[in-house]
């Protein structure tokens, strides 16, 4: 196998780069070790498109956030990903907080963010009636928005695929081959791929990947954040993204509606050693519940439908590392993409295209040529909404599968699940179907629909039900056929 560019990692950064690069005459392969894209930090985060007033104007984090924020309207319309620019409120409780709010506003305005204002008193509670009554001020930033981070990432990947990028899932990078400190190719669990350019977008593991090429300059530490997701009956409890005044480590525990109409609280912030550790702890969940209670009043934990954790990839220097490796030619590192990395991803992708262009010109005397045709739009898949029943009726009459409701909490039809299984980046597990369709994402958390979804995946892919997993790897749902265990133990007697 051979490619002009190999991208390591199918998170939002890797897929955004893949899509941006797919506008050019390049042979691109993206490698992802998991069974789907968006399996790391891009899966479990707050789903916020930040306004960008937090990071200093001099940092990459600050610059790329502000550059990327306005891009989301067009991007999401092209990719058919729901996005709502609902604005954010940074809440202050006293005069010290007010000072911070003013500093943030000034910092944001210096970077060109418009429309921010300080609101207080009655005006504040008009915006957010359920705020904690002790709240006094807020910095309102109208350009902040909410998005589903995994749906955005999957859509970027789908778009990259229809524009010619090859995405190899379940494919692990074993080693990087170099000669005279220049990239020759990558050894993977699927074989060797010859390439001159490797883009290291491996998130939490980008230090290992750089290390394989002989660049040990990066060290990534994982910081966990835990979340509670509430039932949809809490979906309009707040109207904006509600932030506390941030501390030095993070933006703090926020409260926000999600783009699908749930309520999300979290995340906390603490270091973990194991970069695969996505467990939630009692203490952590208590911390976010208490934290959210400082911002809004009246939350009821009995309506939590899911708790989960995500990991942030942070470097010592606290800023993004985006650039050519100083040690290995052909290696471009995109590492330490912590918050606001999700927001910054489209701008990161643009920056990486420039790096590739520069490298090709300098090292290969090649020009990066745009393709004649780039398919910017993804097709709109049918999505059931109660707002448009007539359209749904027509659809069912064309294809009966859209009238067979499989997930009753979120009202997801067999047709939608089938479409996800046969999408550009196909869904092959229960969780992959859930991320694309929301089947199993509702209040019963798949207790009702999981057996039905499993059956559809097996039928559509021609697999046995015992081969279907929750999330790839060894996460099989069913172990044997009925009587299988008795047969194994020699205890089954058919007489």
């Amino acid at each position: 196998m051979e490619a002009d560019v190999v991208i390591i990692g199918g998170g939002v950064v890797g897929t955004a780069i893949a899509r941006e690069l797919s506008k050019y005459e390049l042979k691109i392969i993206l490698l992802e070790k998991e069974e789907d894209v968006a399996m790391g930090s891009s899966k479990a985060n707050s789903g916020i498109i930040h306004a960008g007033y937090n990071a200093d104007a001099g940092t990459l984090r600050g610059k790329l956030n502000v550059r990327a924020n306005p891009l989301f309207d067009k991007l999401c319309s092209e990719l058919k990903v729901p996005f709502k620019r609902i604005g954010s409120l940074l809440i202050g409780f006293n005069e010290d907080d007010l000072k911070v709010l003013k500093e943030k506003k000034e910092n944001g305005e210096k970077m060109g963010i418009t429309g921010m204002k300080i609101v207080s008193g009655e005006d504040l509670f008009k915006l957010e009636p359920n705020l904690n009554e002790k709240a006094r001020f807020a910095l309102f930033a109208p350009s902040a928005g909410i998005i589903s981070s995994y749906e955005f990432t999957i859509a970027l990947a789908d778009s990259a695929v229809i524009n010619g990028v090859k995405i190899y899932l379940d494919t692990e990078l074993i080693d990087i081959e170099t000669e005279n400190r220049r990239v020759l190719g990558v050894k993977t669990s699927r074989g060797f791929i010859k390439t001159g350019i490797i883009i290291n977008a491996a998130g939490l593991f980008s230090d290992n990947i750089a290390g394989m090429a002989g660049d040990n300059s990066i060290e990534i530490k994982a910081y966990k954040g835990e979340y509670h997701l509430f039932d949809k009956k809490w979906g309009d409890y707040v109207n904006h993204i509600i932030f506390p005044v941030p501390d030095r480590k993070s933006k703090g525990i926020l409260v926000t509606p999600t783009v699908h109409g749930n309520l999300l609280i979290g995340p906390n912030f603490y270091a973990v050693d194991d970069k695969d550790d996505l467990g939630v702890s009692s203490a952590g969940l208590e911390e976010i519940y208490q934290g959210a209670g400082k911002l809004v009043s009246g939350l009821d934990r009995r309506d939590v439908i899911a708790s989960y954790a995500g990991l942030r990839a942070k470097t010592e220097g606290d800023d993004f590392i985006i650039g050519h490796s100083d040690l290995v030619k052909g290696l471009i590192n995109v590492a330490g993409i912590q918050s606001p990395g999700f927001t910054a991803s489209p701008a990161i992708a643009e920056m990486v295209v420039d790096l590739v262009r520069e490298y090709l010109a300098r090292e290969k005397k090649q020009e990066l040529r745009k393709k004649d045709y780039f398919q910017s739009e993804l097709a709109q898949r049918p999505v059931f909404t109660e707002a448009d029943l007539d359209e749904w009726d027509e659809l069912i009459k064309k294809d009966a599968a859209y009238g067979e409701i499989i997930c009753r909490c979120e009202k997801i039809s067999k047709g939608e699940i089938r479409d996800a299984i046969h999408g550009p980046v196909p869904a092959r597990s229960l969780d992959a179907v859930k991320r694309r369709t929301r089947a199993g994402a509702g209040r019963c958390q798949g207790a009702f629909c999981a057996p039905r979804v499993l059956k559809i995946i097996a039928e559509e892919l021609g697999l046995k039900p015992t081969e279907i997993t929750k999330k790839g790897g060894n996460s099989r749902i069913l172990l044997t056929e009925t009587k299988g265990l008795l047969l194994q133990k020699g205890e089954y007697h058919d007489d």
């Binding site: 695969d276 996505l278 467990g279 702890s281 009692s282 952590g284 969940l285 934990r301 009995r302 939590v304 439908i305 899911a306 708790s307 989960y308 109660e386 029943l389 007539d390 009726d393 027509e394 069912i396 009459k397 009966a400 599968a401 859209y402 009238g403 067979e404 409701i405 009753r408 909490c409 009202k411 067999k414 209040r443 958390q445 798949g446 207790a447 009702f448 999981a450 057996p451 039900p465 997993t469 929750k470 999330k471 790839g472 790897g473 996460s475 099989r476 749902i477 069913l478 172990l479 044997t480 056929e481 009925t482 009587k483 299988g484 265990l485 008795l486 194994q488 133990k489 205890e491 089954y492």
Partner: protein
């Protein structure tokens, strides 16, 4: 717009009994809407016995119990639409539904019976920390995989919660060759039926660990182990009591929640204790002509009571459609003492010269021994009293209260449970 006298939402045991009873009482145009492909609801996966002892005076399996009603139905002109999902019901009794054959359906009903049943509480409802690997199921989902799909979801099993489905599944998985290591219950008493504890755990030597819970689930891809801990009376984990049990499967049997999203969306008020709509003795909700019965109203211990309750609703809907209900001038509120978890009905709204008894279904909050259940009027005058040896939250308590004890001017009645004086 399709027109029916009565639309029954849900074709499980509640919906079936209600529709048949309405038919028996002279209603002609009846429609049952069922979202699954078949009638009978959850009974179809309950292949164990123990159903029907009260209602049919014989012991049946779940599918057999359902089949009795389904057979009766096939002899009637009651319309059934399976594979049909109700999307919306409004207070004018207009129903929006969809299925794959007909697309969107708009139905106008003279009366509506809500019989949507319930769903299982999940791991989140009891906030068990740890990883989120494969191998974590609600007991009912595991039951479906095993009994309807024909696959074993696990080999080494720990069950959290002593609800009836969990107990049944402990036995079922053992019979299939799995090693059920323990059933944990955070309360000091089992929350299921006594007979299930004996027949499903004791008879198979499966330990029931009371005052225990899972304090963490471990496993990256598939469950690898659970950490169990003792719990104190506030249901908090006692640190220092942790023990690891290797297993590949965790089943949750931690209670059921009436499925009332449609009820909530139409603005019906729900009783916090039952999770179901507030109803009067004919199971009519606060919207006249909209009734609720079965597990959508409150979680029953035995399906036999579901059938009985649904017949009340079916008869009442028939009377409503024929305009044959006589309402009291003032509704009688049913109050309860602290140790009673809930009482159905929450109010009495009708005058019925023919009925002798009003039947109350209730559950206690904690086990009570040697007690007297008493009913008093607004002036605390005792009207009736019933002796019971043992009450547990897992078993529903049924009280028949003589109608004649209610006076025309009665505004409320109050129930309480006291220690029997010796």
């Amino acid at each position: 717009m399709i027109d029916y006298d009565l639309v029954v939402v849900g074709g499980g045991p509640a919906g079936l009994a209600a529709a048949l009873e309405a038919k028996k009482n002279g209603i002609e145009r009846i429609l049952i809407l069922e979202r699954d492909k078949y009638l009978g609801g959850i009974l179809q996966q309950c292949i164990h016995n123990g159903f029907g002892l009260l209602y049919f005076k014989e012991e049946l399996t779940g599918p057999e119990y359902a089949d009795r009603f389904i057979k009766k139905l096939s002899g009637t002109n009651i319309d059934v639409k399976t594979g049909t999902m109700v999307v919306r019901i409004n207070r004018k009794k207009e129903i929006t539904a969809l299925n794959s054959k007909e697309g969107l359906l708009f139905i106008k009903a003279g009366a509506v019976i809500l019989a949507m049943g319930c769903r299982e509480r999940t791991r989140e409802a009891v906030r068990i920390p740890g990883d989120r690997p494969a191998g974590i199921f609600t007991a009912g989902t595991a039951q479906r995989y095993l009994n309807l799909e024909g696959y074993m979801p696990g080999k080494e099993v720990v069950i959290l919660g002593s609800g009836d489905i969990g107990l049944i599944m402990a036995r079922r998985m053992t019979l299939e060759g799995a090693d059920v290591k323990a059933v944990l219950e955070i309360m000091p008493f089992s929350s299921g039926l006594m007979r299930n504890k004996v027949q499903c755990l004791d008879d198979f030597g499966i330990p029931l660990l009371l005052k225990h819970t899972i304090s963490r689930i471990n496993g990256k891809d598939r469950v690898e182990s659970v950490i169990i801990s003792k719990a104190d009376e506030n249901m908090s984990v006692i640190t220092g009591t942790e023990k690891e049990i290797p297993c590949d499967t965790v089943l949750f049997s931690v209670g059921l929640i009436p499925e009332n999203e449609l009820s909530r969306e139409m603005g019906l008020s729900l009783d916090k204790a039952t999770g179901g709509p507030v109803v009067n003795e004919l199971r009519e909700t606060e919207v006249r002509g909209i009734f609720a019965c079965g597990n959508v109203l409150h979680v029953h211990d035995l399906v036999d009571y579901v059938s009985e309750e649904s017949e009340i609703a079916g008869r009442a809907a028939a009377a409503y459609i024929r305009d044959g209900l006589e309402r009291r001038e003032r509704e009688i509120i049913v109050e309860r003492a602290e140790n009673i978890n809930y009482i159905i009905p929450q109010k009495i709204s009708f005058i019925d010269r023919e009925r002798e008894m009003i039947k109350f279904f209730m559950r206690v909050k904690r086990p009570e021994e040697d007690v007297r259940i008493s009913i008093a009027d607004g002036e605390n005058k005792k009207l009736a009293s019933y002796k019971r040896d043992l009450l547990t939250p897992g078993e529903m308590l049924v009280i028949n209260f003589p109608e004649k004890l209610i006076k025309d001017n009665t505004e409320k009645i109050k129930m309480f449970i006291e220690k029997e004086r010796r």
